[in-house]
């Protein structure tokens, strides 16, 4: 996109903030998802051991899932970039 060095630097600064935000969003998503999927009884105010281990496996599995999805996403993106089809760049 033909940015000058100074523009690149400014963009980099803004990206840093965004990455932080995205990481936080990913984290909150994970908390909410595992809470929603694993916690369904409210007879007590503490997690049952069953709920707790569900949460642990949920975090594990979903982190591996996001990792895998991220890898595939980048591959596809790179493949698309190679095959061209994006005029004017």
């Amino acid at each position: 996109a033909n940015l000058t060095q100074a523009e690149q630097r400014e963009l980099g600064n803004r990206m840093e903030k965004k990455q932080m935000k995205e990481f936080m969003n990913m984290y909150s998503n994970l908390v909410q998802r595992c809470f929603d999927d694993c916690v369904n009884g409210f007879e007590s105010k503490s997690l049952t051991s069953r709920e707790e281990s569900c949460v642990m496996r949920c975090v594990d599995k979903n982190m591996k899932g996001s990792q895998r999805l991220g890898d595939r996403f980048q591959e596809q993106n790179a493949a698309m970039a190679q095959s061209g089809g994006l005029p004017g760049r």
Partner: protein, 102 residues
């Protein structure tokens, strides 16, 4: 979640403010999600009465407690993994409090 907000020794004024802002955003995002999840799990959508009944009230209270507990678990787990990847060291239990000490 303190692993999210490890303080660097020398931060500019703007960076310090941005970090404080990010912490507030995190708390408020978590609160929004908690309201969404707990309302859904505890409030009967037939809305027969305008008041929370006993069951709903108790459910909401416990829901908050459990949501925090899940947050602590996830936070500890991710911190553990971040540390084992970083080759151990730099302890810090973290805990699941939402938000900074402002």
């Amino acid at each position: 979640m303190s692993f999210l907000f490890g303080r660097q020794p020398q931060m500019s004024s703007e960076q310090k403010i941005a970090q404080a802002e990010a912490e507030v955003d995190m708390v408020s995002d978590m609160y929004t999600r908690l309201v969404g999840s707990c309302s859904k799990k505890c409030i009967d959508t037939s809305y027969r009465e305008p008041d929370l009944n006993k069951g709903e009230s108790v459910c909401l209270d416990r829901c908050v407690a459990k949501f925090f507990e899940v947050n602590v678990k996830v936070s500890e787990k991710m911190q553990g993994e971040a540390q084992s990847q970083a080759g151990g060291g730099a302890a810090g239990a973290g805990g699941g409090r939402f938000g900074g000490g402002m």
